[in-house]
Symmetry: C2
Subunit: 239 residues, 2 copies
């Protein structure tokens, strides 16, 4: 059920058997939601967080004009709104990009967990800080990278994050975003997403077909993106 989540944690730190059990004990009910639903609305008071079991979610911020910026994408194993545990309400929405299975974790359970396991407290604090690091990298992309580098960078990021939870085979993974949604991540219009995608294709770096990305030349793609995975903190230093 939450194997992907355990894998994601294990990529960053050691877990004792007891800790793993405690984490599995967090999950209350598991629900299934359709694509394109707003699961959490900004400002709404929250007493639970969403642990994504399968499918994709996103953090979306909208401007009064209707323009949307996606601030982070979430895949299996991610807590989409763990930060709500301390924030109490969010400054963005959480939306489903695809149909998704979601394990509900009550904040009460998290309070108990954190009072029993200082180490897991630091570990989950750390996980919210990784989300912040990912958003910081997106900030750099939006501020300073060109459209093609930005797009290549996001694909490298997803490739790395999906590989951790076993969702990459042969440099290929499912990519369910429409070009409009892709643009909402990259700060681009769908027209320019289309053009940029074709340019990546033309350079024989990737292919995107039937909601699936295939990376032909990962090293070249990383170099276009100036991608360095350090910001994903894939090392076990003990937190």
């Amino acid at each position: 059920m939450i194997e992907a989540h355990i894998q994601k944690l294990r990529a960053r730190d050691h877990l004792s058997r007891e800790e793993e059990e405690a984490i599995r004990g967090l999950v209350g009910s598991v629900i299934e939601v359709p694509a394109d639903k707003t699961l959490v609305r900004h400002g709404e008071q929250l007493n639970q967080s969403l642990l994504l079991v399968s499918g994709w979610l996103a953090r979306a911020k909208d401007l009064p004009s209707g323009q949307r910026q996606i601030a982070e994408l979430h895949v299996a194993g991610d807590f989409a709104d763990l930060h709500a545990f301390t924030l109490k309400y969010l400054d963005h929405d959480v939306i489903s990009v695809t149909r998704a299975e979601i394990a509900i974790v009550a904040h009460e359970r998290l309070t108990e967990l954190t009072e029993r396991f200082p180490h897991l407290t630091r570990l989950y604090w750390f996980m919210t800080n990784i989300d912040a690091a990912i958003q910081r990298e997106w900030t750099l992309s939006l501020g300073r990278r060109t459209a093609i580098a930005r797009m290549a960078h996001l694909i490298c990021e997803l490739n790395t994050r999906l590989a951790i939870v076993g969702l990459v085979q042969d440099n290929s993974f499912e990519f369910p975003l429409t070009q409009v949604e892709f643009g909402e991540c990259l700060g681009l219009t769908s027209v320019h997403v289309n053009r940029t995608l074709q340019e990546l294709r033309r350079r024989n770096l990737i292919e995107l077909q039937n909601r699936r990305v295939k990376i032909f030349d990962l090293e070249a793609l990383k170099s276009v993106a100036q991608f360095d995975d350090a910001y994903l903190y894939l090392d076990k230093r003990g937190r």
Copy 2:
């Protein structure tokens, strides 16, 4: 010494006398650094965090090409790298924008504090999540706002954050960034910063002279910026 920091916390939650004492006990030495120094280098192993007493710091991310994006600005009362407590090393640099006084807090002290005060643990976790929310708002700015809205937004943000720690008088506050640095925050060139600043001036919204911003019409400025301070979490819900 760390009054500003206490004020900033008090803007978000209640602190008991005992908790306040414990927080004051965090501070080791206090140092003074000149402007334009790299205080923390990305990747470097850390066992302390920097609590800013006076002056401005920034989180900077550089591209191999030498282009720089500033991801957040820090003013008196901010922990510039509290996230290093769990991250162990950073994915960005911390630089001084001005001469600054900095209180050094050893991570050992923080570990002790968090094991003694679960409430303060949640509070500091919360504070790192506010930093993330600020960065998310910058992401929205960079992705979807025009240059003038972005600039207006940042000024509104600073106005709000500086007011909390008592650094705003008569809608006016010290603003020590050069136009180049301002552009590094906004994802703009200094040329365009200059022009955009003139446009804000021309519309009688603000004035920037002698390293000082004066806001003439805060409501109009907020409306240009589409500014809503919800993302700064200025309410006391008990964390």
